[in-house]
Symmetry: C2
Subunit: 133 residues, 2 copies
């Protein structure tokens, strides 16, 4: 089963995880890592490495970061590994709601691509959605 | 100047706002409203109404919610008002990073559409982005 690691600035990762827990209940193999903006990069990177080991049961890990170009995202990029560790930026709740459903799929790249799509699809203007109904 | 209201489950709204403050500094006319999942709907709706009044300086308000179909999102829908109050779902950090730049635009619907696009564009697979470089 694919592992997931949410890595963000400050408490955003925990906050996202808490909402997931509220809606879906606590799930195995998903960790939230909120990086301290004042911590030295090497300390943050060690935290990421340890968390990756923790959530990886051999099926690889998808890292979800808050923003491309942000420090948390930049610190995860050295861990990219084709088919084994993927990074998705711009994490939001609609994306996280699909983790449980998608993670049993064997192909990590396909799961990552599907999560990206669900995240994007979840961003909508309510007035447009209501008009379509 | 358009007002913004982030409405989510639990502490997610504050967590998002804290990251914005960290990166861009505190900005006027943007409020975070984290709804207590145990509060009665009418209490939450009153909180939303009060917050809307607080951030609306006459140019209207864009409400950013965590997920279409979620309680916070559902509670904001009665406040939709064409050209005056818009709701965008699936809030993420890339979207929030654009608020300051876009909010001076006069047309609320255009700003909402642009925010939706920035939010979606901010969701990327790092391996794909790096290949393009």
């Amino acid at each position: 089963m694919i592992g997931f690691l949410i890595v963000t600035h400050k408490d955003l990762a925990e906050a996202l995880m808490n909402v997931c827990d509220l809606i879906l209940g606590r799930q195995e193999g998903i960790l939230a890592l909120s990086l301290d903006p004042d911590a030295p990069p090497e300390v943050s990177q060690q935290q990421i490495q340890r968390a990756l080991v923790q959530v990886n049961n051999g099926s690889g890990v998808i890292i979800l970061t808050d923003m491309l170009g942000g420090t948390p995202s930049n610190l995860t990029l050295p861990f990219l590994q084709e088919g084994k560790v993927e990074v998705i930026t711009g994490v939001n709740l609609p994306m996280l709601m699909k983790l449980a459903q998608l993670r049993t799929d064997k192909n990590l790249v396909e799961v990552a691509a599907a999560l990206k799509q669900w995240g994007q699809k979840g961003i909508a203007m309510a007035s447009e959605v209501l008009k379509k109904k």
